[in-house]
């Protein structure tokens, strides 16, 4: 089966492409940009088509854009310039007339912004993840304080090192060792969930204190950061990001993705009626499978539908 696909991609694909080009008068990228729905269906197809391209100019263009986004320079005026440059290169290579195909210019430009914006987001997220939580860094400490204040607005923290941290689900009396491999990203995600969706977060926190189905809020939250990061890295999350915004996705959108995952995980956890926290790995694995499946649908759009119910 695998050999068949390889054979198809390598030998037959160009023949099919040539045939379509001759009959429709449009190159593959044009057919995608006109034929596919805006968002994940179109951008993913453009991404694939560009990667498969055998043109040396396009390969060079891709390498350049990769380099720029890996170094997080795909921003501001640079972003506009590079996007225009990419569109022009493709028009030139594929001999497309911009006067007739002005719609292609817009649609393809959007795809370029999304594809390399995503790549840049991954670099940005990766940098945060690699930043180890540092108790001597005032900024880090401030964020930890903020997290407490957002989640527990009516209770004062008695000290920097206190058992109170366990109330919001850290393991011991000092959260600093709990961020581990997720680094500052784990904290930023928790803080964004608690600030941007304060109602939802406090609601989820109250579930974590459930007498039967309780769990450690922050620890589960850090494990979900790991899930969000994995989905971003492996590309499954492209569906989400390409369908959410028409331009380059921002870090804020990643936090939004995370918040969605946390909210949904909580719902799923309660539905599963776990015997105790020891069922976490099994339930988390099942949840991950569900999310991956949902992301397979190119039209999937995820939003937190927050409504308080009473159980």
């Amino acid at each position: 089966m695998y050999v068949f696909w390889w054979f198809f991609a390598y030998y037959l694909r160009p023949i099919v492409k040539w045939f379509l080009r001759k009959t429709t008068g449009l190159c593959e990228l044009q057919r995608i940009c006109y034929g596919k729905v805006q968002g994940a269906p179109r951008t993913k197809a453009v991404d694939y088509s560009l990667c498969m391209s055998k043109s040396p100019q396009i390969a060079q263009l891709i390498a350049h854009l990769n380099d720029v986004s890996d170094n997080q320079r795909f921003v501001g005026s640079n972003l506009k310039e590079l996007t225009n440059g990419a569109v022009n290169t493709v028009m030139l290579v594929k001999k497309i007339n911009p006067k007739i195909h002005f719609q292609f210019v817009i649609n393809f430009g959007q795809c370029v912004e999304q594809i390399w914006g995503y790549r840049q987001l991954l670099a940005e997220v990766e940098e945060l993840r690699k930043t180890v939580y540092d108790a001597d860094n005032f900024g880090h400490e401030r964020k930890l304080q903020d997290l407490w204040e957002k989640l527990m607005p009516h209770e004062r923290l008695e000290g920097r090192v206190t058992k109170q941290w366990q109330y919001i689900g850290f393991q011991g009396d000092d959260p600093k060792t709990d961020f581990r491999g997720m680094g500052l990203l784990g904290l930023e995600n928790l803080l964004a969930f608690a600030s941007d969706y304060q109602d939802a977060a406090t609601y989820v926190l109250s579930h974590s204190h459930h007498p039967h189905y309780g769990y450690a809020f922050a620890i589960v939250g850090i494990n979900l950061t790991s899930l969000a990061w994995t989905l971003l890295k492996q590309g499954d999350a492209k569906t989400y990001f390409f369908n959410m915004v028409k331009s380059a996705p921002s870090l804020k959108l990643f936090h939004q993705f995370y918040s969605y995952l946390f909210y949904e995980f909580d719902k799923y956890w309660i539905e599963c009626k776990p015997k105790d926290i020891m069922e976490f790995s099994t339930i988390k694995d099942n949840f991950e499978i569900n999310v991956r499946n949902a992301l397979q649908d190119p039209n999937a759009v995820f939003r937190i539908n927050f409504s308080v119910d009473t159980i």
Partner: protein
């Protein structure tokens, strides 16, 4: 001889399966040791909610390693995993002097449990790379290991993030099982 009988023959000689229990306080390095044993990436570990399990083949043994979360709230569940344990592996953060007493008490509780009677004990003195880390010998004294008479025990210095010492500890585990 057909393919089927060949397969059957292969299946007839399975490795002996062992059940290893990996315990210790939170942030001791249990999951890092587990992942090192399974040759997996250790750069994005998160605190263990619940447990992790992995199977590793080593010296003709199939080691089923159970890594149970170490936070205080989870510790009451440890006992659910005691049954049929072949070797108890206890991981200590050698640099965490503040919680030395706490880790000692937890270890003592494990050693006095009926279900873990006679089970060999391996203590990993982890995080030897940190400047304030106690040496394996000092840690053994502090935990009172020399007074253990009812079972074989061993302390192994290690730095799990670098993979140093982890293998040596597992060699002792396999040796102590062969002796049994």
């Amino acid at each position: 001889m057909g393919l089927l009988s060949l397969l059957r023959k292969l299946r007839a000689a399975p490795e002996r399966e062992l059940r290893l229990l990996l315990l210790g306080l939170d942030n001791a390095g249990k999951t890092t040791i587990l992942k090192t044993l399974a040759s997996e990436d250790i750069n994005h570990i998160t605190p263990t909610a619940g447990f992790n399990i992995k199977s590793v083949i080593s010296e003709g043994f199939k080691l089923n390693v159970w890594d149970i979360g170490g936070q205080r709230k989870i510790r009451p569940y440890w006992k659910n995993y005691f049954e049929n344990t072949d070797v108890l592996i206890y991981v200590v953060d050698s640099s965490d002097k503040k919680r030395l007493e706490e880790t000692g008490i937890e270890l003592y509780e494990l050693l006095t449990d009926d279900k873990l009677q006679d089970v060999p004990l391996l203590v990993y003195a982890n995080k030897q790379d940190l400047p304030e880390a106690l040496t394996a010998a000092d840690l053994a004294q502090a935990l009172g290991l020399p007074s253990i008479k009812d079972r074989p025990w061993q302390i192994q210095a290690c730095t799990a993030v670098r993979g140093d010492g982890v293998r040596e500890g597992m060699e002792w585990v396999c040796k102590s099982i062969k002796k049994k």
